[in-house]
Amino acid sequence: MSTSGKVIVITSGKGGVGKTTTSANLGMALASMGKKVVLVDADFGLRNLDLLLGLENRVVYTILDTLSENENDRCRLDQALIKDKRQPNLALLPAAQTRDKSAITPEQMKKVTAELTESYDYVLVDCPAGIEQGFKNAIAGASEAIVVTTPEVSAVRDADRVIGLMEASGLKHPRLILNRLRPQMVEENNMMSVEDVLDILAIKLLGVVPEDEQVIITTNRGEPMVLSATPTQAAQAFLNIARRIEGEEVPFLSLQVPDSGFMGRLKALFRRR
């Protein structure tokens, strides 16, 4: 029986839908459950994962330094890994900021992620936006995929493209995280619902994360929101997703708009028409 870890790529096609936020929070959540997790930032040139984890000051070596052809410049994989001081089960393998997506090949990515599975339960690869070289590099070593999208036609269209590309390269059965949902807007018919998105993408739903201001605040602070002692609904959603990844059956959060008090109930009466 193999005890080596899983390589999961977190991708979307569209930029800005929450891949890096998802990677950071899922990584931290899985680590808090006792799993050994390494986050691999595959966004060369525009790296963000180190910022969201608050580890940017500690980046010395990047993934490129472990692959350097020049023996003097090359470092060991464990030298490049940054261990999170808050959560020792979590490590980050940073991307290079001064190079771009052409600096690494899919074969090299495969080799690095394979080596990481020997010491980690989960290797989460944060994929860059787009479908070009960066995307191809990121999916190279992955055995599973998580597609992140927001409930907007453009994001869903791009997610569909990415799912098709992955299916064609053998990375089948990706699972979906629907991010930045606004239940109020869905109720007012101004935003796509979970069903609308699933109707088009037709993949298994891993979780739904509601829109949350805390994402901005925690990103700026470099503290993934799942670390909070009082997790918001969005943070709770990430925690539940981590449990589902581990195989647990967790019911989906009810994201109804809380109607408290008399005015709330009155409004609800009118809304139901």
Binding site: R157, D160, R161, E167, G170, I200
Partner: protein
């Protein structure tokens, strides 16, 4: 008659000896592998296991590594590459080295029909969701058991039947046949084209769940409920 030079995309065709896999001549190899994976996924249910596959390359150059990639892809679906047909010496050598039997035509077999009559192939049957960015081109009718998502395109010389939701673009009668039809269980396309006519879906469409057919009448594309269309004919 189907020749390698007449295919624009990867095509599987049944024959008494097994499956024939036609590769388009001008497409980049990465794209060929992508299409091959899509076609295998979409058609898998209809093939029995242990299928023998003969590769028709025509003028296309293939090296040892490329032949091996194709072999591996087929193997992962219980299909066996047994023969390569080619007009090129290099390809023949690469195939021989890979241990495959080679059928070498010094010049390609000429089609029996004249070049002007369009070659109509058997219907292309795809069991999958056609996702955004995927384009399917076929010299015959296309049948999709699944949805066609926005951004997906079907180009058929014959009819187009979508046993699901058609939300992408469908072009039937690509070689000029104005009698071609486009049918779907849920017709909600980005664009419909029949022969040289183009149309968008109307703003007021009937409730979903009603199968509809698009056809040409009086120089326009019209849409009718499938049940009514049957009576009209």
């Amino acid at each position: 008659m189907l020749t390698a030079s007449s295919v624009h995309q990867v095509i599987f065709k049944g024959s008494p000896e097994g499956l024939r896999l036609y590769l388009p001549e001008d497409t980049a190899f990465d794209e060929v592998l992508l299409q091959l994976q899509q076609r295998i996924d979409a058609g898998e249910r209809l093939w029995s296991g242990g299928g023998k596959v003969s590769l028709e390359c025509g003028q296309r150059l293939l090296d040892g590594a490329q032949i091996q990639s194709i072999q591996e892809l087929l193997q992962s679906h219980q299909l066996r590459l047994t023969q390569v047909s080619t007009t090129r010496h290099q390809t023949a050598v690469a195939a021989a080295v890979a241990g495959l039997s080679v059928d070498r035509d010094l010049q390609e077999r000429q089609p029996v029909t004249s070049p002007d009559t369009p070659v109509v192939e058997e219907p292309l049957y795809l069991q999958q969701t056609i996702r955004s960015g995927v384009q399917i081109v076929h010299n015959g009718t296309i049948v999709v058991l699944g949805d066609v998502n926005p951004g997906g395109e079907l180009l058929a010389q014959g009819d187009i039947l979508v046993w699901g939701s058609l939300r992408g673009t469908a072009h039937a009668g690509t070689k000029g046949n104005e009698n071609a039809l486009i049918m779907a269980l849920n017709l909600a396309p980005m664009q419909l084209r029949i022969a040289k006519f183009v149309a968008r879906a109307p703003e007021d469409s009937p409730a979903p769940g009603q199968a509809e057919v698009a056809y040409i009448s009086d120089g326009n594309i019209r849409i009718a409920l499938l049940s009514e269309f049957g009576r009209r004919r």
